[in-house]
């Protein structure tokens, strides 16, 4: 399979990339690792006139400590680099746990975190973790910079807050307070490996009581979402099982040949319970 013809530009600097995007037509698209975009172009589900390759821009590289005990990850950093990072292992094990089972080695060597977030596939894993971690995304266009919270960034399937002339520059992940445990639990579709349900939980306990909880769920709704009803129930003292029962509240649960809405909704509850239980144990 061969994509329809397009032209290709690899800007040498961020400034050049942003000015190319500023005046760009609808047919212009950014390519990063290409692990979502190229398969779509090959199937001709998507067509472009021009690709702007941002994969090697220096400003989009690097994993750095954030000021608050958190992390800053460049928009073109591949999954593999995050898995190999001692800083990530120390500050945000949830990120490594989420990424470890994405695709396969080859996909993780090229696929980037920025690409996953920008693409907003309803079944992609990273958005769930970004929501549970209360991450935010730094975007930039020639008009300036914005910082957008993950909660609110994902508008719908393949729809985000990112504007056509903007690049996703970095992912900012806040540090975790003492007493916080995290976990990612997913039910993968056996053939594709994509998540039918993926749940990221961040739980802080104090003397055995849940004092803070954030739950991000992917694969279930139209796009990844914060499971607020679950969080509220946990904080209100509900048992984990009772809280998890609210996993799909307010969502139009996806239904396809791999999992109909009833099954997927039931699995959302099961995997939410498992993720919260694991995070709670780790919170100590």
């Amino acid at each position: 399979m061969i994509p329809a013809a397009f032209s290709y530009t690899r800007p040498a600097s961020l400034a050049e990339a942003l000015s190319l995007l500023a005046g760009a037509s609808d047919g212009t698209k950014v390519i990063n690792g290409g692990q979502s975009l190229l398969p779509l172009l090959k199937l001709r589900v998507a067509e472009v006139d021009r690709l702007i390759d941002i994969g090697r821009l220096g400003e989009l590289q690097g994993i750095r400590p954030g000021a608050d005990g958190g992390l800053v990850i460049g928009g073109a950093v591949p999954y593999t680099a995050v898995l190999a990072s001692p800083l990530v292992a120390e500050r945000c094990p949830l990120l490594a746990e989420t990424i470890a089972d994405i695709g396969d080695v080859q996909v993780r060597n090229r696929g980037t975190l920025g690409g996953s977030v920008a693409h907003a596939d309803p079944a992609s894993d990273l958005p769930a973790a970004m929501l549970a971690l209360d991450a935010s995304f730094v975007t930039r266009s020639s008009a300036g910079e914005r910082v957008v919270a993950a909660d609110g960034f994902f508008h719908g399937a393949f729809e985000t807050d990112l504007r056509p002339d903007e690049l996703l520059m970095e992912l900012r992940i806040p540090g975790l307070a003492a007493g916080t445990g995290t976990a990612y639990r997913r039910l993968a579709q056996p053939a594709s490996g994509y998540s039918l349900v993926g749940v990221a939980a961040v739980v802080r306990t104090d003397a055995g009581r849940v004092v803070d909880a954030r739950v991000g769920i992917t694969g279930v709704g139209e796009v990844a979402y914060r499971a607020r009803a679950v969080e509220t129930a946990l904080l209100g003292g509900s048992s984990v099982a009772d809280a998890a029962a609210h996993a799909a509240d307010g969502q139009v649960v996806a239904s396809d040949i791999h999992a109909d809405a009833e099954y997927r909704g039931a699995m959302a509850v099961v995997f939410t319970r498992r993720a919260i239980e694991a995070a709670t144990v780790r919170a100590g």
Binding site: P11, L38, D104, N109, R110
Partner: protein, 178 residues
């Protein structure tokens, strides 16, 4: 590089040899290797980035060459199955696949070996679950994977021995308990 238009020059070092090829931007790395450079050891199994038969290394990392544009590897070093060993001097992975019957039809083998080489470069002493996880993106329709895993374990042991300078014949791995 920032040219535009019908074709773009791509400079790559393939298996140690610098090559410059004019390509259409839509040309895939696997096509560059097979069609332009005649390196047909890299196979196309699915062409939808699922099977791993097209796995090569770009700057030392395994990638699916059907999911990479040729223009994206401009300036990079690409290694294919042809580049890791030769008939007279097999790579330890090639030797171990042969000795341990790690292939039947052989279609998946180049991709399996390139993927395993990525693993062994990162982890010279992987356990069996690690090997299985590492070849997750490579599909074999023939072997049922057991002998592939055994081959990778054997190659890892042989490479560790060679590294340690002990050079004992260890081409046959211990069957695992699981």
């Amino acid at each position: 590089m920032s040219e535009e238009g019908a074709t773009v020059e791509v400079a790559v070092v393939v298996n140690g040899t610098p090559r410059t090829v004019a390509v259409e931007p839509r040309k895939l790395l696997v096509q560059l290797l097979r069609d332009d450079l005649g390196l047909t050891g890299t196979h196309i199994g699915c062409d939808t980035s699922q099977c791993g038969a097209c796995t090569v290394h770009v700057d030392g990392q395994a990638v699916k060459s059907c999911a990479v544009l040729a223009v994206q590897v401009d300036g990079s070093a690409v290694t294919t199955i042809e580049g890791i060993g030769s008939e007279g001097a097999l790579h330890p992975l090639q030797d171990a696949f042969w000795t341990n019957h790690g292939l039947q039809c052989g279609f998946c083998t180049p991709g399996m070996i390139m993927c395993a080489a990525d693993l062994l470069a990162r982890d010279p002493d992987p356990d069996e679950p690690t090997v299985r996880h590492a070849i997750e993106g490579n599909v074999c329709r023939c072997t049922g994977y057991h002998n592939i895993v055994r081959s990778v374990m054997a190659a890892a042991a042989a490479m560790r021995d060679a590294e340690a300078g002990t050079s004992q014949p260890t081409a046959t791995a211990q069957p695992s308990a699981s």
